[in-house]
């Protein structure tokens, strides 16, 4: 490695990542991604799940080879996990059979560092990150926050130039996450972290604005960098500062503005709308949100950041919910606001049986996949249809995981609306018996 290289730490050019699907078109996860990372900055990759931001992080770390494009690490082409890059995982990814100390040491062991030096550096990292006294504990004895501190110490002990963090705080509760964030930023400001730059993947808008110098906002399907924002606020930042709030609001706006376009395109292109990935949002959750929206203090219109705060949701959780409601015509997403439609209000005020009818109506009108399933069932003399063919068709347009998720969602919605039954053992759609006799 050339220690004196003074260009950017990392550059990613024309990066594209896709998965092959037999015979049919590739599934594109990332497209046209450009990224430059300099020393001394914290950069955030912000986006919804499925926007490919974690995939980009794995490409940057050298774990994954991009389908096309070029990744330069300190002026050299990246061909595998690089020295000087260390990663912190969302799931902590600690070895449960190793003690805290052994977990932290593992990166040094892999480099073949001698025992005495290894122990010294491990002790240093453990103390820096506030884990002193926990050396001989096993991960399962620790709380989530302490576990992630071990994950951090393990990454820092190798003195990486670039620290990669994959949603590091999203598995923690709100208060713990906040403590870890502040501790990390304090260390960064005091120049105590042995790293030159941090790349942080997150779906939490506030977290991105709080921690980063620059934020890249990703859009989904395929993942692209939709916006790049510089966060101008001096540190330490105050999240109740009106300018801070405004920026969070703006980013909500950006993230909701782009998405409805795709959703609204669905009914007009009915045959291909068949293959819209659906979020696995339960009907109880929808009903609950619609009731909340229709009652005070929202009275049919809610500001998303405020709603998220009130319901203790993160943007990543609330956005799919809002999108699903707007897909089904219960609500509209506009510039970071969620607005109830007349149908939505009718649903919120209806009784159980009426709700099911309204829901069935909206499904038939707005979800082509449901209509397709029902019409196949109706055509068959035995009133049964295999789920396999629908799954196959979905897989032509999306990854198997999304296809499965979409199918599950459709099954659960269809059952609620009593449009069809589903036999898990046989993987077949069918009609309820009374319907069958009538039909």
């Amino acid at each position: 490695m050339d220690q004196n290289f003074d260009g950017p730490l990392l550059t990613v050019r024309d990066c594209r990542q896709s998965y092959h699907k037999d015979a049919s078109a590739d599934l594109v996860v990332l497209e046209d991604v450009e990224l430059t990372l300099h020393e001394g900055e914290i950069v955030g990759l912000l986006g919804r799940s499925g926007s490919g931001k974690s995939t980009l992080l794995r490409i940057v770390s050298g774990l994954l080879k991009p389908t096309a494009g070029e990744v330069m690490w300190r002026g050299k082409k990246l061909t595998g996990p690089a020295e000087g890059v260390a990663m912190v995982f969302q799931s902590f990814a600690l070895f449960p059979w190793l003690t805290v100390q052994e977990n932290v040491e593992i990166g040094l062991e892999a480099q073949g560092v001698k025992k005495a030096e290894r122990e010294e550096r491990t002790e240093e990292a453990i103390d820096l990150i506030g884990l002193g006294g926990y050396d001989t504990a096993y991960p399962k004895e620790l709380s989530g926050g302490m576990r992630q501190r071990v994950g951090l110490a393990r990454a820092l002990v190798v003195h990486p130039d670039l620290l990669l963090m994959d949603e590091p705080f999203s598995a923690l509760d709100v208060l713990t996450a906040e403590t870890l964030r502040t501790d990390l930023i304090d260390l960064w400001l005091d120049k105590k972290l042995p790293v030159k730059s941090i790349l942080l993947v997150t779906h939490n808008i506030e977290e991105a604005v709080l921690m980063c110098d620059r934020v890249l906002v990703f859009s989904s399907n395929p993942g692209r960098v939709a916006h790049e924002l510089t966060v101008p606020f001096p540190r330490p930042r105050n999240r109740y500062d009106p300018a801070f709030r405004q920026m969070v609001d703006d980013i909500y706006g950006i993230m909701t503005r782009r998405v409805p376009k795709e959703v609204q395109a669905v009914p007009s292109t009915a045959p291909s709308g068949f293959a819209t990935p659906l979020h696995p949002v339960g009907t109880n959750l929808m009903a609950g949100l619609l009731e909340t929206l229709s009652s005070a203090p929202y009275d049919g219109r809610a500001d998303l950041p405020a709603l998220a705060a009130a319901l203790q949701y993160e943007a990543d959780e609330l956005l799919p919910l809002g999108e699903t409601l707007s897909l089904l015509g219960f609500a509209v997403l506009e510039e970071g606001d969620l607005i109830l439609t007349d149908t939505g209000r009718k649903f919120a005020e209806a009784e159980t049986e009426d709700r099911k009818e309204i829901f069935a109506e909206q499904l038939r009108a707005h979800v082509p996949l449901i209509t397709a399933i029902r019409s196949v069932i109706d055509q068959r003399s035995n009133h049964r249809a295999s789920a396999v063919r629908f799954r196959d068709e979905l897989e032509d347009h999306m990854s198997p995981e999304y296809a499965e998720e979409t199918l599950r969602t459709v099954i659960s919605w269809g059952r609620y609306a009593e449009l069809f039954e589903y036999d898990e053992e046989a993987q077949q759609f069918g009609l309820e018996e009374e319907d069958e006799e009538a039909g």
Partner: protein
């Protein structure tokens, strides 16, 4: 108690061409062993220096030690096999395609059926030496241990958590480091559990493999098994009693000093994020953990192991996952061809081997004998289920009773049932009853305990709130059995039942033939067919018998147990 899916239940149901190729390769290999053996046999192999077996009980501790040593020698080979074979199958897609079906076939082959092949092979390698007989015996024990251990390790390797693999790669651990830091620890709980099951089952084969007659080769290796065989020849009932006592002590020591401490210790490797409810350490583990001397020794061993595991040996692997790279169809094609050629060659060898001496009629005989044995297995399983399911449920629902009975059932499962045969045989000779009926229970004496302890485990794992719901809605009698208890314990029952029925097939080779002095009792069945062919040195008939029995076991597993288990675990678990 932990419940791992037994390897026999985990595989595919629908046979494909890989299974066919695997069956041919396994049988071809066995015949190859005999061929090598026959080719090199120049001198009479009967010339083994047999040390006479003394029936004086003062020899027994020594014999017990020898038997135990054989067990551990086999265990060493089993671990070596597990770490290499399973690793290769998991890391190489192409190797895995054929290695896993082979393993699946191997675990269906009756273990004592291997005896003919291994004895011929090893006696040829070490003509006239005790070494050959020792190796043959150790190899038989090895075959009773290795397959499910390798399967368990393979399954762990294929389910390594993705994030830990990424840690290993991104911190650039060398392959050696990754193996000892990630692969082995992750596999540890399943592997230890399977090793202990293997050893428990292995005592049976230790006893069975020590005194062997294959054709005109007879050997008796010093050990408890030979001691019993000699006692049978001399009609010495007292000696048999001593042997049972000695075995009882050995199994008790094994159970207390090894089995329980190891299984409890392996809990440390269990991959879970939350601390489980603490289970008290077995006394032996407490001693090891709390005594200063043992701690010092343990610490020193641990330090050496750590050094050994953290050696780099090679540079860190810089593996970059490339999603767009596809396996080369050309190399795949070559690979398929090689397998196909080998399978055809094996088929030709098998045909050549059996065609001289066997007719289609023999196949008919073997299949008919197999049907007799199958009938026995089915009847025994039905009786065992009818007896042990109610008893097991009763015990499992009472934590106090469970704590007492569960260790006893596990202990009994480890006890080699063949030591208990003589009293039965004596009774049959004395009362002149039909061996066809009365030899039958012997097949299940040892393995019925698997049904019991799995059912207990299932009932004990029954969620407390569900028990309360049953009581609250006053679900009783037949309804309670039909809707609650039987579905609730079904996966556990299947786990126990497949072990028991597999064990019964294995045991039929020693249980359908019995002797007391000069009285030979023979029942009609495939086990007796194989046993007699073995002692006559009639290798083609042994091959035929082994193939037919493997076939029965495979069909049983694929058509009955696997679908039942898949159904049970799908239907009776939430989420």
């Amino acid at each position: 108690m932990t419940n791992y899916t037994p390897s026999v239940l985990a595989g595919r149901r629908i046979p494909n061409r890989w299974d066919g190729a695997a069956l041919l390769l396994v049988m071809g290999l066995l015949i190859g062993l005999v061929d090598v053996g026959r080719g090199t046999i120049a001198m009479p192999i009967a010339a083994i220096q047999n040390t006479p077996i003394h029936l004086d009980p003062s020899y027994l501790p020594m014999y017990a030690l020898r038997s135990t040593a054989r067990m551990f020698a086999a265990l060493f080979f089993s671990f070596t096999f597990t770490f290499t074979y399973a690793t290769l199958a998991a890391k190489s897609r192409r190797a895995g395609m054929i290695l896993i079906p082979i393993l699946d076939i191997l675990q269906s082959v009756p273990i004592l059926g291997f005896l003919t092949f291994t004895v011929t092979f090893f006696m040829a390698l070490f003509p006239g030496q005790v070494m050959g007989a020792e190796l043959a015996a150790v190899f038989v024990i090895f075959t009773s241990q290795a397959w499910n251990m390798a399967f368990s390790f393979y399954q762990s390797l294929t389910t390594l958590p993705n994030d830990l693999q990424e840690v290993a790669r991104s911190f650039r651990l060398s392959p050696w480091q990754k193996f000892w830091r990630l692969d082995v620890p992750f596999a540890m709980p399943g592997l230890i559990w399977n090793t202990m099951l293997s050893m428990s089952g292995g005592w049976f084969f230790v006893v069975a493999s020590e005194a062997v007659t294959v054709g005109n080769t007879t050997f008796a290796l010093p050990g408890i098994g030979s001691y019993v065989a000699t006692a049978l020849q001399h009609k010495d009932l007292k000696a048999i009693f001593y042997a049972i006592l000695a075995m009882f002590v050995v199994i008790l020591l094994y159970d207390q000093l090894l089995f329980r401490p190891l299984v409890a210790w392996s809990g440390k490797f269990r991959f879970e994020t939350t601390a489980a409810a603490p289970v008290p350490d077995p006394w032996m583990l407490k001693v090891l953990r709390r005594t200063q001397l043992f701690r010092t020794i343990g610490g020193a061993i641990g330090e050496v192991m750590r050094k050994f595991f953290s050696l780099r040996l090679s540079h860190g692997s810089r593996v970059q996952v490339d999603e767009s790279r596809k396996p080369s169809p050309v190399i795949d094609g070559i690979w398929y061809t090689v397998i196909a050629v080998l399978a055809v060659y094996a088929a030709w060898q098998i045909f050549g081997f059996v065609s001289h001496t066997l007719h289609w009629r023999d196949l008919g005989t073997a299949v008919m004998m197999g049907s007799f044995t199958m009938l026995r297995v089915v009847i025994l399983m039905t009786i065992a289920a009818a007896v042990w399911v109610p008893v097991g449920v009763w015990i499992g629902l009472r934590p106090g009773a469970t704590r007492v009975v569960q260790p006893i059932a596990q202990f009994l499962a480890a006890f080699p049932a063949n030591l208990l045969f003589p009293p039965f045989v004596l009774a049959i000779v004395y009362f002149h009853v039909s061996p066809d009926i009365w030899l039958t229970p012997l097949m299940l004496i040892g393995t019925q305990w698997y049904v019991l302890f799995n059912v207990i485990a299932g009932a004990a794992a029954f969620p407390g709130d569900m028990k309360e719901a049953v009581a609250n809605f006053r679900i009783r009698g037949l309804l309670r059995w039909r809707k609650v208890m039987i579905p609730g314990i079904l996966p556990y029952f299947v786990t126990g039942a497949i072990t028991a029925s597999g064990g019964a097939w294995n045991a039929s080779i020693v249980a359908e033939v019995a002797s007391w002095g000069n009285n030979n009792l023979v029942a009609h069945g495939l086990g007796a067919y194989i046993a007699q062919a073995t002692s006559h040195g009639d290798t083609p008939r042994v091959v035929l018998g082994v193939v037919v029995m493997s076939g029965f076991v495979i069909v049983f597993n694929r058509l009955l147990w696997r679908p039942l288990y898949a159904y049970a675990s799908r239907r009776t678990t939430l989420g």
